[in-house]
């Protein structure tokens, strides 16, 4: 395989939930080209779904004119996925813990927890000038799942 086939893949998606499947299709392709096995792809895909869903829902508020950027970058045995939106940004440090007893029966608030559970490292950055959120998630795909 040539180096260029492993260079970053970048998608720009209109903010519709059905486009989550396009991001998943890209992950499938990247996984096949990079030797990421099926089970591992499933867990990375779960984190990807959550990140893109949040970008569409909380970031771009389902405005189809606003775009979600998704990029995949494989280096060695690490895959790095970035998901960016054009929303207001948020403070990831003040998100409630879904495992706290008082939150256990809440109907929402588990997405970021799933991202952190299924990836090795998840960081959030607010875009320049206060606009947008970029989520960066990395996983060593040769390690066993947590």
């Amino acid at each position: 395989m040539t180096e260029s086939s492993r260079s970053p893949v970048v998608l720009w998606l209109s903010s519709r939930y059905e486009n989550i499947e396009l991001a998943m299709a890209a992950l499938e392709e990247v996984s096949r080209n990079s030797g990421i096995e099926n089970d591992m792809e499933h867990w990375i895909g779960m984190a990807l779904r959550e990140a893109v869903a949040n970008a569409i829902k909380h970031g771009n508020r389902q405005d189809p004119e606003k775009r979600v950027m998704v990029s995949f970058d494989v280096k060695g045995d690490d895959i790095t996925i970035r998901v960016g939106d054009e929303g207001p940004g948020f403070d990831s440090g003040s998100v409630a813990d879904p495992l706290a007893p008082e939150n256990q029966l809440r109907p929402s608030g588990r997405g970021i927890f799933y991202m952190k559970t299924f990836m090795d490292l998840v960081t959030f950055q607010n875009g320049d000038g206060g606009g947008g959120t970029i989520v960066t998630m990395t996983k060593n795909f040769k390690n066993k799942k947590p």
Binding site: Y17, E50, A53, Q104, R106, P107, G111, F113
Partner: protein
């Protein structure tokens, strides 16, 4: 009825067979509608058969939690059966597996319901 939820009777138990993806913008609302219809019809025992579910996300998990709360508030009992391993893992890491009444098979779930 919706494409990824079908409802059938097993004695006095309403069985909901879920199929495919229970994810945001896809199967998430179908499950809620089906549960609400079933409860509105007076059902007191609901079994959700997860055997054919391939993927669930946080929205789908939230829907399950919401259905559980709604059923409980209406005096109905809700059980889950046939969780595929990955779906089981998703409920386990958020410690919901202990909240739900989970059975390995439909027969087991129906017994003594």
């Amino acid at each position: 009825m919706n494409k990824n939820v079908t409802v059938r009777d097993a004695g006095d138990v309403k069985v909901l067979d879920l199929k495919g993806k229970i994810t945001i913008g896809a199967g998430d609302l179908h499950m809620r509608e089906a549960i609400h219809q079933t409860l509105a019809g007076g059902a007191k025992k609901i079994l959700i058969n997860m055997k054919e579910v391939t993927t669930i996300d946080s929205t789908g998990v939230g829907e399950l939690v919401g259905c559980y709360t709604t059923a409980t508030n209406k005096g109905a009992k809700l059980r889950l059966a046939n969780l595929p391993e990955k779906i089981n893992d998703v409920l386990t890491v958020t410690q919901l597996i202990t909240v739900f009444d989970v059975y390995t098979s439909e027969a087991e779930a129906l017994e003594g319901f």
